[in-house]
């Protein structure tokens, strides 16, 4: 059995930034395990620009953003294994992995950082009726085919779901000569970033149909057309609104799910809303010394915030390994999402362990205009900040300081909610 101080599961943006941070915080024995043939994760297929505005103050493409961190990993001499699939992590932090050169590997870690990312929701999760012909792809699969393998999935495209990957692929396939006929979105608002709606759809005259869904898929061997219908406020198709769109390809961009089979296998407690682990202020799960960051924790819109979060996880894992971390004060403040706030990361704060500043990230459940984000320290409103707009597609955050929390020695719960003006 091999031994490492910190084993990082996943060599995408979260894993890379966590590794760099752990190393800079004094840990030399670090191993990154990556299942793909190269580091960088999903950024390798995200060839569009717009990454790094917060992190580097410039607009990079996905591969360029990844390379910045890969260069740091290499410069710092951090070890990694490629083409290596992690099969299991035990509660005692023994990682079982497999690859073609070493066969079965067993690695004992003092700390584990979960950075496996997320995967796409599939057609099976949507229950769309109709045949199962060829030509139905998740948007990310199409992205990989076009950008990494140089293959075009089809020529006449309909896209279901207005998540960012779907919008990006609408533009990408248009540039490669395909005709993207329509993007249908079940919700009355888009799940994607505004800039993607404008630069990927409006620029190319691609219509976005809100409150619409696919009610039938036609064609037996290859998809020939889909039937779209408007949906009512409860999400049910409205009879008489059906429209048929001929197409040879249907792309699904209908949400991402954190990939937590390994986490739950080792006994990590998962959150019902995010499908990611419940974590404390140190981004540590219910298992001591097991940390999580990036899309495995909760799905992000911007990689910049993944890197930021991973930096925190790496730093905290380093402190844990070095035994420098406070044992905790035993006083745990719970964070409770309410009234429009769907979840918070973290879900609890130990004031003895928290750093001077703490970023609490969350998502809202609907579009809110001219509202306030409020945090109640038990009964007292301690944070009250105005937002012109909040939407489910854009992650929100508030910042708490240690100084602020120490003023409330008996504080038990912080409720985060949206309040009308």
């Amino acid at each position: 059995m091999k031994n490492y101080d910190i084993v990082i599961i996943g060599g995408g943006p979260a894993g890379l930034a966590a590794a760099v941070s752990a190393k800079r915080n004094g840990i030399d024995s670090i191993l990154i395990l990556e299942r793909d043939k190269e580091l960088g994760g999903i950024l390798n297929q995200c060839i569009h620009n717009g990454f790094g505005l917060h992190m580097f103050r410039e607009e990079l493409t996905g591969p360029e953003y990844a390379q910045r961190f890969i260069d740091q990993v290499n410069a710092l001499g951090i070890a990694y294994c490629l083409n290596t699939m992690v099969m299991d992590i035990s509660h005692e932090k023994v990682v079982t992995a497999m690859n073609r050169t070493d066969g079965l590997l067993e690695i004992r870690a003092k700390a584990v950082i979960l950075a496996m990312g997320c995967r796409e929701r599939s057609r099976g999760a949507l229950n769309i009726p109709g045949y199962r012909p060829a030509g139905i792809y998740s948007a990310g699969t199409a992205q990989r085919l076009v950008n990494m393998e140089g293959l075009m999935p089809g020529r006449e495209i309909v896209i279901l779901g207005s998540g960012d990957i779907g919008l990006i692929m609408a533009r990408r396939m248009t540039l490669e000569g395909a005709k993207v006929k329509v993007v249908a979105e079940l919700m009355p608002y888009s799940g994607g970033l505004k800039r993607n709606i404008v630069q990927c759809l409006d620029d190319y005259g691609i219509p976005l149909k809100l409150s619409h869904t696919v009610v039938d898929i036609n064609g037996k061997e290859r998809i020939e057309s889909v039937t779209l219908a408007e949906v009512d406020a409860t999400g049910k198709p409205v009879p008489g609104t059906e429209e048929e769109y001929s197409c040879d390809t249907l792309l699904l961009s209908v949400g991402l799910i954190p990939e937590n089979e390994l986490s739950s296998g080792m006994g990590v407690q998962l959150n019902n809303v995010t499908s990611g682990p419940d974590v404390n202020e140190s981004l540590e799960t219910n298992i001591e010394g097991v940390f999580a960051c990036g899309n495995v924790l909760h799905v992000h819109d911007l990689v910049d915030f993944v890197s930021e979060e991973a930096k925190t996880a790496g730093k905290n894992a380093a402190a844990y390994v070095k035994g420098e971390r406070s044992a905790g004060g035993g006083r745990e403040i719970r964070l409770k999402p309410m009234d429009g706030v769907r979840y918070t990361v973290p879900i609890s704060i130990d004031t003895a362990r928290m750093s001077e500043d703490l970023t609490v990230r969350f998502r809202v459940g609907a579009v809110f205009r001219d509202c306030y984000v409020s945090a109640y320290f038990d009964g007292e409103r301690a944070v009250h900040t105005k937002r012109r707009i909040m939407a489910p597609g854009e992650m929100e955050e508030i910042r708490l300081t240690k100084e602020q929390l120490l003023k409330y020695p008996d504080l038990k719960a912080i409720t985060v909610k949206i309040e009308e003006a």
Partner: protein
């Protein structure tokens, strides 16, 4: 008098902005909630620009494709000309980030450069 309707992308608000144009002069910008919207709308109407990203084939590399981009913004109207300038292009490995793949793409004065390192097989 012409009116152009735009969605501002400077923040998640997504203000619906109306720009009133008389021949080549902007008469008014309305609907924006802040100054950034005004700046965005004026640029979008007079000189809209974009970065174009795509991929080209690699010969003898560890990957089949290498991603590329216009090094700077190009006029929005030149996007498809830029794409055409990439048609049939193949590069030999190794390729490094920043390598020029197509100089002066479609007469824009902007080079198309690689955005990924692809080593030799």
């Amino acid at each position: 008098m012409e009116i152009r309707n735009l969605t501002c992308i400077r923040c998640p608000m997504g203000c619906q902005i109306a720009v009133q144009i008389d021949r080549h002069d902007i008469v008014s910008v309305t609907g924006n909630a802040c100054k950034r919207g005004d700046v965005y709308a004026r640029k979008e109407v007079t000189d809209p620009t974009r970065i174009v990203t795509s991929t080209v084939k690699v010969v003898g590399g560890k990957a089949d494709m290498v991603s590329v981009k216009t090094k700077e913004d190009i006029p929005r109207g030149k996007i498809f000309d830029c794409m055409r300038s990439l048609r049939g292009i193949e590069v030999e490995a190794p390729v490094y980030i920043g390598d020029v793949i197509v100089p002066d793409a479609a007469g824009t004065g902007v080079d198309i450069v690689a955005t990924k390192n692809v080593g030799k097989e």
